[in-house]
């Protein structure tokens, strides 16, 4: 059982990193609690696989420590770290049967054969592989192979965390949900910490209780799927999560709020006070398309916008409009009346987010 603590961790592939750009992982502090189901979400190249390999020990971090239950494991090789890892492309031992594949880690640890038998059968049952134990592993389908590689992690009693590196990439779409459900079920049954790397927000939110969003070598937000959706901590989280992503517009300070191209947006007093104290000029506001209010008639506090485009996606519609020279989107219910030509849009205050230097600023706590 393990809690995984990344302490002041950073990693660079270059021997003498000069600036932050040389770092694949920028300095971070992060804790994965024992028994949690976590996802590590981010675009390709953001450093998520690097981070996973550091946790498993395949890579040794250039700075900082990896702690398992408070114990530093930097110098412990992967084979003695009590973790299992499932890779993007299923790794199976071609020349062995399914049974031998599952038994492989146990036999490497010199576990008595009777125990190997029992354990393999138990795990095969859970993974629904019991009928093919005698088959050669190389003739399996991709999802069966992936189950076998997962099974090799589960047979070991000492495994306290399983790391998944985009494990569903090569699986047929109709089998993906089945395998994901299996993962979930195993998680509940075994009380194992699971970290699941993916670039697919749907996969992340169906699997994980908490998602860490990675961008440019940093974890920019760690929260439940709902938190990521409702109050993205960073403009990137806004873009990346949700479909379509958050509307983010660059703004300037203005009396009692902010403005862009003549569109004035009032803000709460607390935020205005805060804005007056910070020096930075990189200001943005963001609002999710779901929360943009659209109406055919002029209402108080609404802005007049030009409709440029409407997409009907069956259960909902995406309205694209232009306001003050910026293109924005709104997501409407399928039965909502859509005005033509001009529309009046408003941004409910509780959903309008302010970002200073790309990070969220909230009224409730002054930093």
């Amino acid at each position: 059982m393990a809690e995984i603590h990344l302490k002041a961790l950073a990693h660079s592939y270059s021997d003498a990193p000069k600036g932050p750009a040389d770092y694949a992982i920028r300095e971070m502090d992060h804790v994965w609690k024992q028994g949690g189901a976590y996802a590590l979400l981010g675009p390709s190249g953001c450093g998520k696989s690097t981070l996973l390999n550091i946790i498993s020990g395949l890579l040794s971090p250039s700075d900082g420590d990896v702690l398992f239950d408070g114990k530093r494991v930097n110098d412990i090789p992967p084979e003695t770290r009590n973790i299992a890892q499932v890779f993007q492309f299923p790794v199976i031992y071609d020349s062995m049967t399914v049974f031998d594949n599952l038994a492989f880690p146990l036999r490497n640890m010199k576990v008595p054969e009777a125990k190997v038998q029992a354990k393999v059968l138990e795990i095969a049952e859970i993974l629904e592989l019991q009928d093919m134990l005698k088959n050669k592993a190389k003739n399996l389908t991709a999802d069966e192979k992936q189950k076998v590689s997962m099974g090799r992690g589960l047979v070991r009693d000492d495994v306290s965390a399983i790391l998944f590196d985009e494990p569903l990439t090569v699986i047929d779409p109709h089998l993906k949900w089945k395998l994901r459900r299996k993962l979930k079920q195993i998680h509940e049954q075994f009380n194992i910490t699971m970290v699941y790397v993916t670039h697919d927000q749907l996969e992340a939110s169906t699997f994980a209780d908490k998602i860490a969003v990675m961008y440019n070598g940093q974890i920019v937000q760690f929260g439940t799927p709902r938190e990521l959706f409702e109050s993205p901590n960073h403009t990137f989280v806004g873009y990346f999560i949700g479909s379509p992503g958050m509307n983010v517009v660059e703004v300037q300070r203005h009396n009692g709020g902010v403005t862009f191209n003549g569109v004035d947006i009032p803000l709460d007093d607390g935020l205005v006070d805060f804005l007056n104290q910070v020096p930075g000029n990189n200001l943005k506001i963001g609002i999710r398309p779901e929360f943009v209010h659209v109406s055919g008639e002029s209402v108080l506090g609404a802005y007049e916008a030009d409709i440029s485009h409407l997409e009907d996606l069956g259960t909902y519609k995406i309205l694209t409009f232009r306001l003050g020279g910026e293109t924005m989107k709104a997501r409407l219910d399928e039965d909502q009346e859509v005005p033509s030509g001009k529309a009046y849009v408003s941004f409910p205050k509780q959903w309008l987010k302010l970002y200073v230097d790309e990070y969220l600023v909230e009224d409730t706590y002054d930093e």
Binding site: L58, P77, E79, Q85, F87, V91, S95, M96, R152
Partner: protein
Amino acid sequence: MNKVENNRAWFLVTPVFLLVAFSAVIPLMTVVNYSVQDIFDQNTAYFVGAEWYREVLNDPRLHDSLLRQFIFSGSVLLIEIPLGIAVALMMPTRGWTASASLILLAIPLLIPWNVIGTIWQVFGRADIGLFGWALNSIGVDYNYASNPMDAWFTVLLMDVWHWTSLVALLCYSGLRAIPEAYYQAARIDRASNWAIFRYIQLPKLKSVLVIGILLRFMDSFMIYTEPFVLTGGGPGNSTTFLSQTLTQMAIGQFDLGPAAAFSLIYFLIVLLVSWLFFTTITHLDKAK
């Protein structure tokens, strides 16, 4: 891959067919023709049927060189295949050292075969060769020109030096095709180095090894130039292999009939053994 039935593909194959037929079929027919005649000179020849085959099959010279040949080819495979695998496993995988060791290993493959013979002829001499001199100076009485065992050993060592690189490069290329994730998974599964070799590397090497064994068997079975230059087949007949017995017969003594019969038997042996390998390969390809 599903192939399409299309007999027009013969147009693409015709050039190869004609070229190889010109170089293979006509000479082969000539050999068959010789093998059933007794030839005195250009204009006098008698049909003798299977006479030469009977004679050759009972010829102790053939038996001896055939036996020597099998022992030699067997030893070659037994040494070069494991050694080649070991060298491939030890080769660096990246950086300039990888390119450098690749190029250095390939050198023996690109030296004309008689030069190989010459190099070892010099290298093994006790008076002017480093190898012979070194052996003698540490007290080993080594002289490949007079001692049959020494000669045989030198020819074998020369072949190992010459050809192990081929096996090594084949295996190296096979090993490079294994994705990194296999090694990572194996580490996490706590596989020992031996288990990694046995269950990851060796299975992936299977098809290149069949190619390596096939090439090494064929070429070692046909070896001629290197031992001819090194020892001239001696001392005695200790390093006289099949090819050499054959050339002696055909060119040295102009026994065309028996030489031709001998050639065909020789060819058939190579063919039979190679066919076994060939079926193994196609089986492997199908299993994929």
